[in-house]
Amino acid sequence: MKRLTVSILLILLLGTLFTFTGAVLAEEYPDKTIQIVVPWGAGGGTDKWTRALSTVAIENYGQPWSVVNIPGSSGMVGWKEMLDRPADGYTIMSTGMSNIIAPIMDSSSAPYTPEEVRPVAIYNFQNPVLIALPDKEWSTWEGLKNYLTENPGRLTIGSALGVSIGTTSVLEQAGLEANLVIYDSTGEAITDLLGGHIDLAIPPPAVAAPLMESGDAVAVLNSGIRDIDLPKFEDVPSAADLGYTGFSTIRWMGMHPDTPDEIVQYANKAIGEMIESPSFQSMMKSMGEKPVWVPLEEVEEIYNHQAKELRRVLENIDL
């Protein structure tokens, strides 16, 4: 008898909870812990950024952030997990580029398309830099252009896939052809560049900077869409300087596509406050990283541009 009473009470309680959550969802958001799905293993770049951000969540977001790593299948498992959960703003995915690339390459079986997300924030741009050994004919953009015009396809560029998109796109716009070799990691490509086995490589600025500092390599092109705010990069031409459209890899956050507008707006503003909080800023500075904040309209615009550009480049280039 007792058990029955308890069960009935529980059912009633749950029922009331469900009715209420529907009605007051938007106004009272957020009233519980936010789950942040990172579709990559703990310790990776995106994971470090997200965990650093989560340290300032309570003060600025109003609720704590709990970071969950759900890696697998180039980040598709994590994205799918986000889609499987309710569109209530309590699950946010924090990710980079690979799980946008994967469903494009694998469109027949992928469990989602890159459009099935509501982007809420972009917190970091990476502008990959094309670098070469010093004193080569192709160590400047002009030299590179001349060399490839005379010897089409006879320069080997080593790069990890994500960071190669910008350079591939700029070369294509300039009507140039190079031998692009996709490496597993940037480190491997740099090692081959320094050993003289390949002609050019495409690291992120943080990796290029020490090599430029030591004189082991020179930067030929910033293929990203933003200027690089590091010493030694003032004279490096950017895609925009040369009249082309660049491409930066982004780290961003997204929610379920059906999430109510008010929640998305709240999240974008609150994440902006988190990014601008002094303690987060100083944390990222010590890691040599530069966070950004982008207003919501621009987030959607940039995300859509990136997704479109990725689709175009990936479908056109012959890897």
């Binding site: 598709m76 498992v77 694998d106 080997t156 050993g195």
Partner: protein, 491 residues
């Protein structure tokens, strides 16, 4: 802590080193670099010695690498010299291990300097060499070894094509896009498949209404009786030749990707049987045999990290798992490891040496305690390990698909064991295939599809030459060790 777990894991038959390490790996996700590496290296080293405990006491090698120890160890046990045999195994393990660690520390730094010379082609040829070695060391039945290796290659090809990123062999299942991850693979193939086998074994016996066998307690008792003699200093030093052979052969075997500790143990046992002054008695319960086998398998431990640290190539499953832990810590093993992460490398070196001292200490205490653990009834052990395996697989990446993959692989492993196919070539081929494929394609692409690049540099010619010599040399040595293995099988 690591050594403690390691010796336990090693002492339990069926729990391989890789299983112990794989189960520990998720824990390191929540640790700092130092403790994380210490835990893994501890398990790695402890288990290699621990495997000899059950090999000597029950004639059941706790790990494949301890198989060569069974022959002399168990005979000594039967003569009531079990304690002596166990101590010899411990001291030989630690000696071989320490000497080879010193070789590692000296050689790795030298090798790192020439790492830049290894371009895409040379890296491919090193992989090629390792791949050839699996073929020559794949067990008694080369044919079965090759089939098992081929299955490994096929499983490794599942996932996206590394260059064009087009999915292949994925049966249109999106969650197979990144291929089969290594941890579900290892846990499934080694731990769970073995447990399925044991389970069937128990069911079979129950049906026949047989009593579950009881270990002969008199043997165990001899371990603790005062009468059982301790190992003397003189006996230890008397085995210096065998330990030297074990260290040298083990170090070389360890450095070569894919040879591993079983190869090291059997090769050094084989060499010792040829050259030891006491060679007639090796195999009849001689300390020399234990010394050679145990120093041989533990001497592979340190050097197996050289290819990992210098080229980013894992030389064994254990090294591969240490590699994963390093990657997690933000230090992906690559030729520039020494430049980029010197602190991690040197802490790794220090840990390698310290782990030996701890192994000696813990091992001495555990010799008494752990030889009993192997007696735990199987009906308790099996469900416990299966539970641990499923939870471990899931926790690594909160990914339920990994559990499915693990269970399918376990079934495959069970079937392979049933048909007496060795599983070691499968795993080694599985690990090497993506590496060899990537390096090959990068080598060919960077040379604008000119295959002559394979013979271009002096280094690549030298590597090809070494490969040929190795194949000839090992085939000959294998004939010798085959005889020994053959004898062992008859026992």
């Amino acid at each position: 802590m690591g050594v403690f777990v390691g010796v336990t894991v090693g002492a339990l038959p069926g729990l391989a080193i890789s299983t112990g390490m794989a189960l520990m790996l998720p824990l390191t996700y929540y640790m700092n670099t130092g403790p994380a590496l210490a835990l893994l290296i501890g398990v790695y080293k402890g288990a290699t010695f621990g495997g000899s405990i059950s090999a000597i006491t029950f004639s059941t090698p706790g790990i494949p690498a301890a198989a060569a120890t069974v022959y002399d160890g168990y005979k000594m046990m039967k003569r009531g010299e079990g304690r002596k045999a166990l101590q010899m195994a411990l001291y030989a393990s630690v000696t071989g291990d320490t000497l080879s660690d010193i070789i590692t520390i000296v050689l790795a730094t030298t090798l790192a300097v020439v790492a830049l010379k290894f371009g895409p082609t040379e890296r491919f040829l090193v992989m090629f060499m390792a791949f050839i070695l699996i073929g020559t060391l794949s067990g008694k039945n080369i044919f079965k070894g090759l089939i098992s290796g081929s299955i490994g290659v096929l499983l490794a090809l599942i996932g996206s094509d590394p260059v064009s990123l087009v999915p292949r062999l994925t049966f249109n299942l999106w969650w197979l896009r990144d291929g089969i991850p290594i941890i579900p693979m290892i846990i499934g193939l080694f731990a769970v498949s073995k447990m399925i086998e044991e389970l069937f074994d128990i069911i079979e016996r129950k049906r026949k209404n047989e009593e579950i066998e009881k270990q002969d307690l008199s043997i165990i008792k001899s371990l603790f009786s005062k009468a059982s003699a301790k190992l003397t200093w003189k006996e230890y030093i008397g085995c210096w030749r065998e330990m030297l052979i074990g260290t040298t052969v083990g170090s070389i075997a360890g450095m070569l990707p894919g040879v591993g500790s079983s190869g090291g143990a059997f090769l050094s046992y084989g060499v010792a049987k040829q050259f030891s002054p006491n060679k007639e008695n090796i195999g009849e319960g001689a300390l020399e045999g234990i010394a050679a086998a145990e120093s041989g398998n533990n001497a592979t431990m340190g050097p197996t990290l050289i290819p990992l640290l210098v080229f980013g190539i894992p030389g064994s499953v254990g090294a591969a798992l240490i590699g994963s832990a390093l990657t997690f810590q933000g230090a992906t093993p690559s030729p520039r490891m020494f430049e980029l992460h010197p602190t991690i490398i040197y802490s790794l070196f220090v840990l390698l040496i310290i782990a030996n001292a701890v192994n000696l200490f813990v091992g001495n205490i555990m010799i008494r305690f752990y030889s009993r653990l192997g007696q735990l009834p199987k009906y308790i052990l099996i469900p416990f390990i299966i539970m641990l395996a499923i939870i471990g697989t899931y926790v690594v990446s909160n990914n339920r698909y990994d559990v499915i993959i693990m269970l399918v692989i376990a079934l495959l492993g069970f079937l392979l064991n049933l048909a007496k196919f060795p599983t070691a070539p499968l795993v080694i081929a599985f690990i090497l295939t993506p590496l060899i494929e990537r390096t090959f394609r990068i080598a060919i692409q960077t040379s604008y599809y000119d295959y002559r690049v394979m013979f271009d540099s002096g280094l690549s010619k030298a590597l090809l030459g070494i490969t040929i010599i190795l194949v000839i040399g090992i085939t000959k040595l294998k004939d010798k060790s085959k005889k020994i293995t053959g004898d062992l099988e008859e026992e």
